[in-house]
Amino acid sequence: MSESTEWGTEVVIAVCPHCDWRYLVLAEKATLRCPHCFAADLEPVTEGVEQLPYVRPPELVTPFTVSKTTADKRIEEFAGGIPFAPRDLNPAALRSRVQPLYLPMWLVDGDVSATWEAEAGFDYNVVSHQERYSDGSGWATQQVQKTRIRWEPRVGQLERHYDNIVAPALEQHAALEQALGVYALDDAQPYTADALERALVRLPDRAPEAAWADAVPAFQAAAGEECRQAAGADHIRQFRWSPTYTNQHWTLLLLPLYATYYLDDDGEPRPVLINGQSGRVFGVRRASMQRAQRSALVIVAIAAVIFFLSLVAGVAGLAAPPLLVVAGSGGVLALCVGLGAIIPIVRAWQFNRKPVETL
């Protein structure tokens, strides 16, 4: 499908044949590696596009505030400090595969009419006292003011329109939020086609009907805050209402993300994600047991060579006794070096005992 009107530029829908994630991409980027599973290249969808759900243009975009340079620094920090890191887990490889990506969230507008009731809290000051006493100087009094809250019941009616109430558009939204942190949605800007020039857009896999359950508490929170302001209160609690929703309109909000990956010991791609707004990095940092084992084998081989040379010196020592000292020392050295072979394996094992972060 080629779309140019709603999105402001030529886009196509591409799907990953491995994980079935769907993306909106510029036509020339339709064959990129899937930034989710990194197991296959994307394939443009040419048939049945009309039946694909939730292909709606976004209304707002949270811009990338983490530059490519900053993202590279985060990658270097991520890849550093891992003993016997997988060969592919290096900054250069990670940097070369970085793919900017937008994650979707639903934005819903709607009219609400409701009756509501709540307890409105009003701050007021009381005068209190703090006193100090000592045998030498007697009492010293200090007057202080303390703020208290007076709670009063309020009821009311509400006829309001609410814009841009957010709700998750991905089934993995909660896991992504836990991994990457919460995005500051106040920074969102109106969508322009430029956004697609630099990044892919993940398509929602959650229907508005499913997301509505998450939007309702957000509507209630927005209404509660407005009712607090309407009542001129400083606080509100026990807010309850019986709302009727009409004229719902759904659009998308895009959240920025950098995605890259490395191949682990088994050649499986491991994703590394960077929050495009806060710079928080998420990925699996594991030492390569294969590399540790190889290092151990090299050490064992060196120990074997030393032992062999010691044996030779021992045989020669039968003829020239001073060589027996060399043979003895060589044997001890070979033993020490051989025992040292366990160090790489233990080190890698210890590092991998840390909690593994997976998405």
């Binding site: 209190s128 006193e131 100090r132 006493y133 006829e159 009542a231």
Partner: protein
């Protein structure tokens, strides 16, 4: 959610956001309080007054009875916080107005001028009772609660006579004096509640017995030393209904002796309770009274802190104290007062109108007092004098020195004991007559 909208008792209030209507509970309408409430019997037009025996209004002529409309509130009587606004208003106000009030009796048209703070008036010509209800600067600063009289005026005389005869220091002729004319008056009181949270530390002395070797006597000796150790602790203390008089026109010492009021008996203010009694508005402002209340609370908290120490030997004591949950009430409490004359001097007597506790000034027969003081001090003085004479005699006849010791030691001890008793008697006598 409520089924009817708006719920009963809610009225529209201002909303800061268009599209949102806000309803708040309708404010309680302040009862229209007539400036002067007159008490007349609806049956015979004679005067009515509060009857302590019946607990309501009673006509002294036809027996008509009207029970009070308000109920017992006790400790649940509403308390007020020390808000910035209340303190600002209370610091300027003094009860119910400062100016003298001129009232005209609607029964006989006689005019009378009342002093500031007087809340009731009984016409001296026709005897009709009225209660004045002037505006207060804040509703909380009206007397909202009171403790009704429980002791009848007739009971005051026997209480006073028993009290007058209860001390040997009073003149014998006083027992024949008449202490009558008790006037019931509602006095203003502030009640305070608060929680004190204190942290203290001090050096506490502990006696320890130690042994040391005395080289000169070549023996081990025991001696006691005081070892000082730092101790600390925390105290949380709740104070409920600490009473502070709202008037400085009466003796604080006498009032403090009457202050065993039971606030469980508090009732909501109703002018009927005041009919036939005098009533005084406060002249000690809230903040000043609270200062006095705080002093009592912090002293009690300090005593509790010191009591936590493991011994009573304490030095370098210090503490930090925070007040919280402070609240106050303005109440009226019943007192009977009278002044009796003795030997041309006036003596004031007060009786707690709820409990019957009595306090007051009593004349002192100082001849009697000095006689007793002399009798108490004389044995010690005599023995001491004889002991001194025996010492002088012992200079000539050394065996007399033994008798001197026998006389002097108990003499001095008796003299000291007699002196203490005499000092206590004189102090008590002075307090009786000079309050």
């Amino acid at each position: 959610m409520t089924e009817t909208f708006p719920p009963p008792g809610f009225i529209p209030t201002a909303s800061a956001i268009p599209g949102i209507a806000v309803y708040a509970p309708a404010p309680e309408e302040a009862e229209a309080q007539p400036e002067i409430v007159e008490f007349k019997c609806p049956q015979c037009q004679a005067m009515t007054a509060y009857s302590v025996a019946d607990g309501g209004l009673r006509c002294t002529y036809c027996g008509y009875y009207e029970p009070p409309t308000r109920t017992l509130v006790g400790k649940g009587a509403q308390e007020f916080e020390f808000t910035v606004e209340t303190l600002a208003v209370a610091s300027q106000a003094h009860g119910w107005g400062e100016a003298r009030k001129e009232v005209q009796c609607q029964n006989c048209n006689a005019r009378a001028t009342l002093p500031p703070g007087r809340l009731t008036h009984t016409c001296p010509f026709c005897g009709s009772n009225r209660v004045l209800q002037q505006d207060a600067p804040q509703d909380a600063l009206r007397p909202r609660f009171l403790i009704p009289f429980k002791i009848e005026a007739d009971a005051c005389r026997p209480i006073a006579e028993k009290w007058l005869g209860s001390s040997w220091m009073t003149p014998k002729s006083l027992k024949q004096s008449t202490v009558a004319g008790f006037t019931g008056i509602y006095l203003p009181y502030w009640t305070f509640d608060a929680v004190t949270q204190a942290e203290w530390k001090a050096e506490v002395g502990h006696h320890e017995t130690r042994r040391r070797y005395n080289a000169s006597t070549k023996s081990w000796e025991s001696h006691t030393v005081t070892v000082w150790r730092w101790e600390s602790g925390q105290v949380r203390k709740f104070f409920d209904d600490v009473l502070v008089p709202g008037t400085a026109r009466l003796s604080g010492v006498l009032l403090s002796q009457l202050q065993n009021y039971d606030t469980h008996a508090l009732v909501a203010y109703e002018p009927q309770y005041l009919a036939g009694f005098l009533a005084q508005a406060y002249d000690v402002p809230l903040e000043k009274a609270w200062e006095e209340g705080r002093e009592a609370m912090r002293a009690a908290t300090r005593d509790t802190c010191r009591g936590q120490a493991s011994t009573s030997r304490i030095r370098n004591f210090s503490m930090a104290l925070d007040f919280s949950d402070e609240s106050w009430r303005y109440v009226l409490a019943p007192v009977y007062m009278t002044v009796f004359q003795y030997d041309g001097q006036p003596y004031q007597v007060m009786i707690n109108g709820q409990t019957g506790a009595i306090a007051g000034q009593r004349p002192v027969d100082w001849n009697k007092v000095w006689l007793v003081v002399g009798a108490v001090v004389a044995p010690g003085a005599l023995l001491t004098l004889l002991g001194v004479l025996a010492i002088v005699l012992g200079l000539l006849l050394p065996p007399a020195l033994g008798a001197a010791a026998v006389l002097l030691v108990p003499g001095i001890i008796l003299l000291i004991i007699g002196g203490i008793i005499a000092f206590t008697i004189v102090g008590k006598a002075r307090r009786m007559s000079d309050v």
